[in-house]
Assembly symmetry: C3
Homo-oligomer: 467 residues x 3
């Protein structure tokens, strides 16, 4: 700007119009970082502080005044102060009247106070227009510039013009404002940064329970049983062999659990004869975390692949194979080639690879940036058609792996079947139900229900007129 001779031009005087000063109450870490960022984006900044003469390390170019003086200088005041210390604002009611107060505070616990901080602020300073914003952005991210354009800033407030002005500032800082409606939404917005993977809990707990159960199951069959009957120390199996039983079983079970709520919902709709009755809460919640279930399953499948591929590197395997060859060499016996075994063995490996490949595809398309580039029809094609194909391939992989020895009584140890037999229960159930549901007669009824038809209703026509 210095290089342009602006003084002669009435037009460029406009250019300063955006550069309205912004006032920040509080010189804490977040207040400083936000102020620095705003300065960099061209906003003059005035800090309000209890002890303006003591403030250190504030960004260069920012003014520091008392709360009262600072508030006078700007229309927009960012309250970068903990909720516990909001009381002093009541003394400033007059000067704050009509101004936009931006509440950026967070709490330490979810639902810590009966009302949200922003609503509390609005009560304290009834003359001001309170907007909730910036609480999801961290001081560190502001300082370091590690901000993506799509980093969301949730904004809410009762005054739409105040909100619009705050959202303009958010946009200028290179962030994406997201209007969440009135100040009632402040509670949800304040809880958001305190969440720790709420949708992942059920899948993770479920898989942990499954893993622990399967671990003991396998330890009994593969470690304790041989120790009791053959006095053989097989504890080393706990590092690789047993996990490589647990992981694929967990993966397949979780994958089947992704598709179980869908078929359950279909049965429920068929039974009720309408889609216009809410599902039970547990089913709703289950359907909402299918993506997470699937991704956890993919994690276990990935581990299974790695554990399988290292097999030939293991000392135990090399020792065993070496011994077999040595025995054969000494015994002068031929080891005839079995085409059936080769077929079975190659088939289950190939099925597993193809299943894993499709599974990885499903995982990639569930990345937010990928799923945003496909339309609804494509998304459903992938998640439903490809998903079922993956389930079929993985189930077939397990079935062929079992092969002839499947349910063979000789494989029972203390009446316990091999662990992989357990892996097949849920997938096979899901696939059988799905097979029944796509029988033409049942599928036709289901499709009609999903298009709005109701078995016991006269408003059936509704579904044909309206979208």
């Amino acid at each position: 700007m210095e290089k342009t001779s602006t003084d002669a031009l009435p037009l460029t005087v406009n250019s300063l119009e955006k550069q309205e000063a912004i006032c920040i109450f509080g010189t804490g870490d977040f207040g400083r970082s936000l102020g620095l960022k705003m300065l960099q984006c061209g906003y003059p900044i005035v800090y309000g502080s209890r002890k303006p003469w003591m403030s250190s390390l504030l960004p260069n170019g920012a003014e520091v005044l008392s709360y009262y003086e600072a508030a006078q200088k700007s229309d927009i005041i960012i309250i970068a102060i903990h909720r516990e210390h909001y009381d002093f604002l009541t003394k400033l009611t007059e000067v704050l009247s009509g101004k936009i107060l931006v509440d950026v505070s967070n709490n330490l616990k979810i639902n810590q106070y009966p009302e949200s901080n922003a609503e509390y602020l609005a009560q304290l300073v009834p003359g001001a227009r309170v907007v909730k914003a910036f609480n999801t952005v961290s001081a560190w991210a502001l300082q370091s510039g590690a901000l993506d354009a799509s980093r969301q800033v949730f904004v809410c407030g009762n005054d739409s013009k105040a909100k619009e002005r705050v959202m303009d500032i958010v946009r200028t800082l290179g962030l994406t404002p997201l209007d969440r409606g009135s100040l009632l939404a402040a509670n949800e917005i304040e809880n958001y940064p305190l969440q720790l993977f709420p949708m992942w809990r059920f899948p993770l707990y479920l898989s942990a329970v499954l893993c622990v159960f399967l671990f003991f199951y396998c330890v009994i069959r593969d470690v304790i049983y041989p120790y009791v009957y053959e006095k053989k120390d097989s504890t080393f199996r706990m590092a690789i062999s047993i996990p490589n039983h647990i992981f694929p079983i967990t993966a397949l079970t979780l994958l089947a659990l992704v598709y179980l709520p869908g078929v359950t919902a279909a049965i429920l709709q068929l039974y009720r004869g309408t889609k216009y009755r809410r599902f039970p809460d547990w089913l709703d919640h289950w359907m909402l975390c299918r993506k997470q279930l699937g991704l956890v399953a993919l994690g276990f499948a990935f581990l299974h692949v790695l554990y399988t591929l290292v097999i030939p590197i293991r000392y135990y395997v090399r020792w065993r194979l070496g011994n077999i060859t040595v025995t054969q060499a000494r015994s002068k016996k031929e080891n005839p080639f079995s085409t059936t075994t080769a077929w079975m063995n190659d088939a289950y490996i190939a099925l597993g690879i193809l299943g894993f490949f499709l599974f990885v595809l499903l995982g990639i398309t569930s990345l937010p940036s990928v799923s945003n580039t496909v339309n609804w029809r494509e998304f459903r094609f992938i998640q439903s058609k490809l998903g079922y194909l993956t389930l079929i391939l993985c189930t077939a992989h397990t079935l062929v792996y079992g092969g002839k020895k499947f349910l063979n009584p000789l494989n029972l140890k203390w009446h316990l079947p091999s662990a992989y037999v357990l892996a097949l229960i849920i997938p096979c159930t899901v696939l059988v139900i799905k097979l029944i549901l796509i029988l033409p007669c049942i599928d036709k009824t289901l499709t009609r229900i999903r298009q709005g038809w109701e078995r016991n209703s006269k408003s059936a026509l509704n579904g044909k007129t309206d979208i």
Copy 2:
């Protein structure tokens, strides 16, 4: 809000200004879901229905009135009705005059009607301001809240103020509006949700054709030939060995086909002496689906890696290696170590790994969210420089794999060379042409052409002044 004493304050009265009522015609699935979402975001909702007394399961808080009454209550009317039933709107022409009608409808087929639904609606109710929006969002996504901020809502319309208001609503719902211009764009917007991977068709069909051809080629060489001459049953090779020939060949061919249109275009530009003549349509289309070609190639490369890594686990391989060792042990002969074989073997494996690694890098950078964080220069560096390096490494991998037996007449079966020889044709062609194109004399001419120079033109200077 209940907690704030708003009655005394003229300021917060503004807060209700945004909460303009929205009217929804039609109580179908989509109408209900959209209404519920809007209610949650603070908009009062009025439903218009043929039989308002019969409506069930509408979201709590929504009013249901006759079409006429509902239309009176709001400026913005969402027409959640199938196009076939739009006729009744002609009776409401008066009350709809000047109002914003939002067409959310979709068709069952691409280009089902001569004009788009939104244009048809504008014809039916000429006094209304029609805006097309929301047709790409699914009822399920609205209901379940499975919406990302970047989920795009295409908006178009002839009245910019009407469009702006609809886009504000879209933003408030947490969606991203995308202005696509005038109502002429409605046709394209209505076709969008009906598409099923249009850019992926050519790559997928092409790779399917390649795979089928290679499958028969390999079956003839590896299954039928040994059966005819040695009566050996090698059908089990169809599970892993033959796919592991097909996949790498398809991957390498497709990867080369990613770079073939680029060199073809360069030759065409050199021949024509200008870049200002359109390429033939097939070349344009080919260039637009290079990313998809590359990703399909990456899929096949991934399968090739998995199929290769499971080799030592296979029964057939273990049986064969065991037999070789047994024979050697019995024969009392030494098996001397060949440094050349070790070199060749390790080299082609290492080349393959490095090629695959770069290929995965290329794939990751083609993810939308990653490619958006790099600038144009970085994107071209990756896709062009790293891309060619990948092609070179993968071609070298195949060449060294062939090694000494490459084109050896002893490897011909029924005059057919090994399948991998076929894999080299296109990659080597592309690399040779590229090598010629980067010769200084040719590269200089090409660069001048690409900067706007024309061989037979006086407007050559243009290219130097203008960008």
Copy 3:
């Protein structure tokens, strides 16, 4: 539109209001592509050209006039001309007065001129309102339609209304405008497209140096040493064995270097007794490129995994294992099974797999689209907790791999220890320091400092009131 009878309706006349004509000076490649795109989005386009009668291949529907005539037709003029040829604009000062000039130019080098092109333009035509925009978008992307909604267009300018209008056009073209403030930002915006991975340089150079050093270290130990003492040709080891030493060491070292700046910063804060003093520049820069360091480390880890998994396919390994078995078969000696070896071997493999799995998880969550869907707490949980767990697992993997032979004098060759011993230096240092830092007494002080407490300050209370 043709199908609607608009003539009778005053309302739809508004519909043309958006369709303000846009003028483009310059008919070069970018000018044409931008004009075509704008035409498609419904803007009438007028080209300004030195020789309007000579222009070829301009998009259909665009008018071509002299500069003067074209400028008269529109409020917004896009200057698609190289900076070197801006001079002629001084002659048009009058007609350009008050108009919006959009500077779309780029330079060939970073900081090529003392002032940015946009500032230079503002100096040349002082009466115009200059806005910088579109310079990050390529002509090819505009032509081919390969544009994502999140493709960012940086916009800056001194006149906020002019900027707003340009941003509206950007949005209509389906791009995302990003307001970067006043024209002072033009310099940065013009440098942006010229950057080539600035954040990746340090990690890549560092890993290159590490790799070269380790290569020579390993060649001395594994190739030259055996050649000198046993006259054995081990050069073939350079293809796979030696890289498979280099890659894991580099990966582990880089991973530790991701966490070293964090503990260094903590020590510095503890020593200074405040967090309000800037870190040295090198530490700041190091902290900003931790993500890139981690991703490069992940790349090396990925290579290590692939190089390890191919081990049993290698000719050398098969030859060696075959020979061992043959020798054993002939010698009539038993090869007793060692449970300890099995344990150690399986444990280091399992630790490696789990470490790699968590490492991949870290990599996936650092994808922009994934990290945008988690809140700050979740992001820190992953990058800090899971990150340290990964480092612990990978360090343990290396320690157990070393096992009993770790620092065994017999493994020294020319006094050089095995390469993996070098890999442990930095990771173990980081882990030991971290362990000390999380001792309750030290952790408590550190937490207080990070909440704003200062050892030698009275303003300690500040940190408790303000955020």
